[in-house]
């Protein structure tokens, strides 16, 4: 969930009233936001880097507000204020308008064919006669960063570049060139570098290093030039210094390059709707024309208003309320979804503004009606749904067995399903290739290399972590192991195993053997060769030679019991003899 931090004073100024922290917290809760933290720059720095570094930092109070991940229109102070003011019916939602420049000189961006291999899309717009202040400027930069981190997926899908239009002249060309042929002075640098040098320059940059991989291995890098060959930006890495925006900038050229055109349009719409508030003609955005190499031309920003019709009855029924159509329309209007009742009152027409790309289905509209109505004002009801409950048979058996294993004096452990290859192979004296284990592709540490193929390592590790406890230690676990199985759609399946272990000064094979007899008694399986269970001497590298037996029941091998091999005991950092039993309980269903 993205977090937006805003200065409390600025927020209250823009909201036109003051709130206590509790009041504002409550307002956030109603609206689906969360006032996560009340802090200051000084607090943040001293928390992250220690008190000494915070000296001189601002102690202006900041609100950190958690915003739902699909509400890009709330990622800056401007949008938050607009949303809350409309919600509280203090203002009407503004209507965003795309306008063509008066003199007909529309800014043009031409996309060349070379971009197709690296970053094929671009959109653009102009914020004309904008007035920045320090706070507005900071917010403008912050919003771009928030969009980059969220909808733009760390610039992989979309990258935004904003430029002082008065420093350049169109038409602009979006192309892709070999890195050695691109040369410019990057933002806030004092000299020119080639694209390859720029990549090296930012390899250690705490922020930019995360974006290098997006184009690094491509033969051509994306780049935007003006008609005089000035570099606007090398997306998605860095802008040129030439077009840098300052507090005095009056006209802003916005370009977004992308691999996902839908998201690029959304990002452009959000950025220009939020900041057109500061244009001379408020909430207007000057169009720009984008031409693809095949000649297709598009005008951006789209700023499209979409109309949807939803039946009031459906809204009421889905929420569980009975509001009049006119009140439902009013509720929706409070969520920036301008609505009115049509016809004889059996339909509500809703206008979805360009800021609300999250509204993709009637259910999104219904949710907004519910939020405006107030979730906590909805009457709670119990559905009449009549059903008969069933337990999952395997879990039912597990629950029954657990109780009786504890009654037999064994204590239940709960160990991880993921572990290292070493745990299930080397330490038990087997080769990993013989285990049928599923392997994880991206483990952060060795603890998550494989899913366990046996419950034994987990129990042995549990004992190792509890060596200070009085002896004997008697543990059990009934849980799932995972093994590859090509007959399953995903190529693997779980198997429910029962495992028990006895750790004492003597190996206690008879204790574990007795437990097996008890488990079989519980499962009503008699000791018999014909139809019951039996154990037969077996070899297993985990167990001491001559001290291991295989367990047969229901006409199949279900597991083994034995005294651990001294090597196994040592490898699990134990010092006492130890015996164990592990069986598959699924045949007993």
């Amino acid at each position: 969930m993205p977090t937006v931090s805003v200065k409390r004073e600025l927020l209250f100024q823009a909201l036109g009233r003051r709130y206590t922290d509790e009041e504002f917290d409550e307002l956030c809760f109603q609206f689906g936001l969360e006032l996560d933290e009340i802090t200051s720059e000084k607090d943040i720095i001293s928390k992250e880097q220690g008190g000494g570094k915070a000296e001189g930092a601002s102690d202006i109070i900041l609100y950190k507000i958690d915003v739902p991940a699909n509400r890009y229109d709330l990622l800056c102070l401007e949008g938050l204020v607009r949303g809350l003011q409309v919600f509280k019916e203090r203002i009407k939602a503004p209507r965003y308008k795309r306008i063509m420049p008066a003199n007909g000189g529309v800014q043009r961006l031409i996309i060349t064919e070379e971009t197709a291999q690296v970053r094929p899309h671009a959109v653009a717009a102009v914020l004309r006669n904008i007035t920045f202040s320090k706070d507005r400027y900071d917010s403008f930069i912050d919003l771009q960063e928030k969009l980059h981190q969220n909808i733009c997926r760390k610039r992989a899908l979309v990258a935004i570049g904003t430029h002082d239009l008065d420093t350049i002249s169109g038409p602009f060309t979006y192309t892709a060139r070999p890195p050695s042929e691109i040369r410019f002075k990057p933002l806030n640098q004092s000299k020119e570098y080639t694209a390859s040098e720029i990549m090296d320059l930012y390899r250690t940059d705490s922020q930019l290093k995360h974006y290098l991989h997006i184009i690094e291995n491509k033969p051509l890098y994306p780049v935007i030039y003006d008609s005089n060959g000035v570099v606007l930006s090398m997306p998605p890495i860095i802008n040129g210094n030439h077009t840098k925006i300052t507090l005095n900038t009056r006209n802003v050229f916005v370009e977004c390059t992308a691999t996902d055109i839908t998201k690029a349009k959304i990002v452009l719409d959000i950025l220009v709707t939020m900041f057109s508030e500061y244009c001379e003609k408020q909430f207007t955005v000057e169009a720009a024309e984008v031409t693809y190499h095949n000649g297709r031309t598009c005008i951006y920003p789209e700023l499209a208003y979409r109309r949807e019709k939803v039946k009031p009855d459906l809204i009421n029924k889905k929420i569980g309320i009975s509001e009049k159509p006119s009140s439902l329309a009013k509720l929706l209007t409070r969520m920036c979804l301008k609505s009115h009742v049509t016809g004889s009152g059996n339909n509500i027409e809703i206008e979805i503004p360009p800021t609300r790309a999250d509204i993709i289905h009637a259910c999104d509209i219904i949710e907004d009606a519910a939020i405006a109505y107030g979730y906590n004002n909805i009457q709670m009801t119990i559905p009449k749904t009549y059903t008969i409950a069933n337990q999952f048979p395997l879990n039912k058996l597990t629950e029954l067995l657990r109780q009786d294993l504890a009654a037999a004096g064994f204590t239940e452990a709960l160990t991880f399903a993921l572990c290292s290859q070493e745990d299930i192979a080397d330490k038990l004296g087997v080769d990993i290739s013989s285990t049928k284990a599923v392997h994880i592709a991206n483990p952060k540490t060795a603890e998550f290399q494989v899913a366990r193929t046996s419950l034994l390592p987990g129990l042995l590790k549990t004992i190792a972590a509890n060596r200070k406890m009085p002896l004997p230690l008697k543990l059990f676990e009934i849980s799932d192991i995972v093994i590859k199985d090509s007959t399953k759609d995903v190529g693997a399946r779980n198997q429910r195993n029962l495992c028990a272990i006895y750790y004492n000064k003597n190996p206690g094979f008879e204790v574990i053997h007795g437990l097996l007899d008890r488990v079989m008694q519980l499962l009503a399986v008699p000791p018999s060769k014909a139809s019951g269970y039996l154990i037969r001497a077996a070899e297993d590298s985990a167990f001491f030679p001559g001290r291991c037996a295989e367990i047969f029941a229901k006409g199949q091998s279900i597991g083994k019991l034995g005294v651990f091999h001294p090597d196994v005991i040592t490898k699990f950092e134990l010092t006492m003899p130890c015996s164990a039993l592990e069986i598959n309980i699924e045949p007993f269903l």
Partner: protein
């Protein structure tokens, strides 16, 4: 009491009776009874059934006493070294070399010299010779030590005591004594008390005439030997019970490996969603891909993502089968809910209530409250015409069974539910609202491609099993609860799990 038992005990009790209400000291009692003091200490007394804590009470005291050292005792017997030297010198004197051979020679000579009792003639014939210097001497050292032996050390001057202590003839000892008083069941007649009932007493009926030693009810009993269930799984059992009480059927969640298709795509979670990142999800290297899908359904899922449909705009991106094929460790049990709802949609619709409690996996950064695997609790209801109010009412019933009565709901965002609500409950300890679960109504983009009828709504909620357990049992570090680093003592000592109390 140890040796002569009841007889001596009776004497002690009689003395105590005579001493009246004030009681008497153990030292004096021992002296009067002719016992070593060590036989009159309280542990010894109370170990005897006739002098149990109810019969006599005792309070520990300590006192200091001067005693003679072994050398001091010898001096009381034999006289001081200097007196012994004086006595051994005849009128004609004694060669110094001979005098030094006497047992008290060295010490006695120097003391006698400094007392001016003897004199030394260095120029005598045959070497230095010692003569008496006075007619007779008074052995004051011996006299003082005799006083100490008679228990009158206090009558000596402190300077003298210190001098004798310095000469290691006297020592100060601390004695632990007891002040003995009558107890609540005091009696001078001693009856032997029995420790416990025996089969013989029952057979003979002798128990009727016997007195039994009182039990100490302050002490703890002996814990029974037993096995124990794991606290987290005890809580799991209770949650299962609650769902079963509410008529929910358990889902088969015994498949940790899931395809991205069922885990994400079926839930209308777009393929570029950050949850599908390497940073958040464990992908499998082997078996890397799922091979078998219901292809008609898969095509409908592809369409709803890339083009929309069923009244939805869709996400309008290039949906890729290879992304859906990728095997992962499931990130939520909702993947199983999706399989169950798909199965439900393949037959004539009947209402369903499902639940599951099982492991899920996240490739996240680990800390004191987050592990790479945890248990998710999930409830799902599918029926015609379910409302948001129904979801809230169901949650209220569910949480009431957990002992949580104060609930409120916050609008939230989930990729596969709309409306979505986070569930908060008021935590009296923390004095604030804390999030206890997440919930919502599954999106039509998830349900309709499965083939569920249009009017059917599916409400669902989820929470983790670990969090309520940690709160319930006051555990701060999740590793003490889950995994091999569990604190077994905590497992042994754990109470029953009663969620509603």
């Amino acid at each position: 009491m140890a040796t002569d038992g009841p007889a001596l005990a009776e004497l002690l009790l009689q003395r105590l009776e005579r001493a009246g209400g004030g009681g008497l000291g153990s030292l004096e009692a021992a002296a009067a009874l002719g016992l070593e003091h060590q036989h009159v200490t309280v542990p010894v007394l109370h170990s005897s059934p006739v002098c149990s804590p109810q019969v006599i009470e005792a309070e520990q005291r300590s006192s200091k006493r001067w005693e003679l050292t072994p050398e001091g005792k010898e001096i009381v017997q034999e006289g001081s070294h200097e007196a012994r030297v004086f006595d051994s010198i005849p009128a004609e004197g004694l060669p110094q070399s001979e005098l030094m051979k006497l047992p008290s020679g060295k010490v006695g000579f120097s003391k006698a010299m400094s007392n001016k009792w003897v004199r030394l003639d260095k120029n005598a014939d045959g070497g230095p010779r010692v003569f008496r210097a006075v007619e007779s001497v008074q052995d004051s050292v011996r006299e003082k030590l005799q006083l100490v032996q008679q228990g009158e050390a206090e009558s000596l001057e402190e300077k003298d005591r210190n001098e004798l202590k310095k000469r290691k003839l006297l020592m100060e000892v601390i004695i632990k004594t007891y002040w003995i008083r009558k107890g609540s069941a005091f009696s001078t007649t001693v009856t032997k008390q029995e420790t416990d009932l025996t089969p013989e007493m029952l057979a003979s009926g002798s128990w009727r005439d016997l007195k039994f030693k009182a039990y100490n009810f302050e002490a703890l009993g002996i814990m029974p030997e037993s096995g124990h269930l794991h606290p987290l799984l005890k809580v799991r059992t209770q949650f299962r019970q609650i769902f079963l009480e509410m008529g929910f059927t358990e889902m088969p969640t015994n498949n940790f490996i899931e395809s991205s298709f069922w885990n994400f795509d079926a839930l209308f979670q777009p393929q570029q969603h950050p949850a599908r990142d390497q940073h958040d999800t464990f992908f499998l290297q082997d078996p890397a891909e799922a091979t078998d899908f219901p292809m008609d359904y898969l095509k409908r899922v592809k369409k709803i993502h890339s083009q929309g449909g069923y009244g939805s705009q869709g996400y309008k991106y290039d949906w890729k089968l290879e992304e859906a094929r990728k095997n992962i460790l499931r990130t939520h049990t909702t993947a199983v809910s999706a399989r169950m709802l798909y199965r439900l949609a393949q037959q004539k619709f009947t209402p369903a209530k499902y639940f599951s409690i099982d492991r899920v996996f996240r490739n996240e950064t680990l800390d004191a409250t987050h592990l790479a695997e945890f248990h998710q609790i999930e409830g799902v209801v599918a029926d015609y015409g379910l409302t948001l109010g129904d979801l809230m009412g169901t949650l209220r019933e569910f949480f009431t069974k957990l002992g949580i009565s104060q609930l409120r709901f916050k609008p939230a965002y989930n990729p596969y539910t709309e409306p979505s609500m986070e569930v908060f409950s008021y935590h009296r300890g923390l004095q604030k609202w804390v999030e206890v679960g997440n919930s919502g109504i599954f999106r039509p983009e998830m349900l309709l491609p499965m083939g569920l009828p249009e009017g059917v709504s599916v409400i669902a909620w989820g929470l983790s099993l670990e969090r309520p357990t940690m709160i319930k049992y006051g555990i701060n570090n999740i590793r003490e609860l889950v995994g091999h680093k569990v604190n077994l003592q905590m497992v042994y000592d754990g109470p029953l799990c009663r969620l509603d109390s």
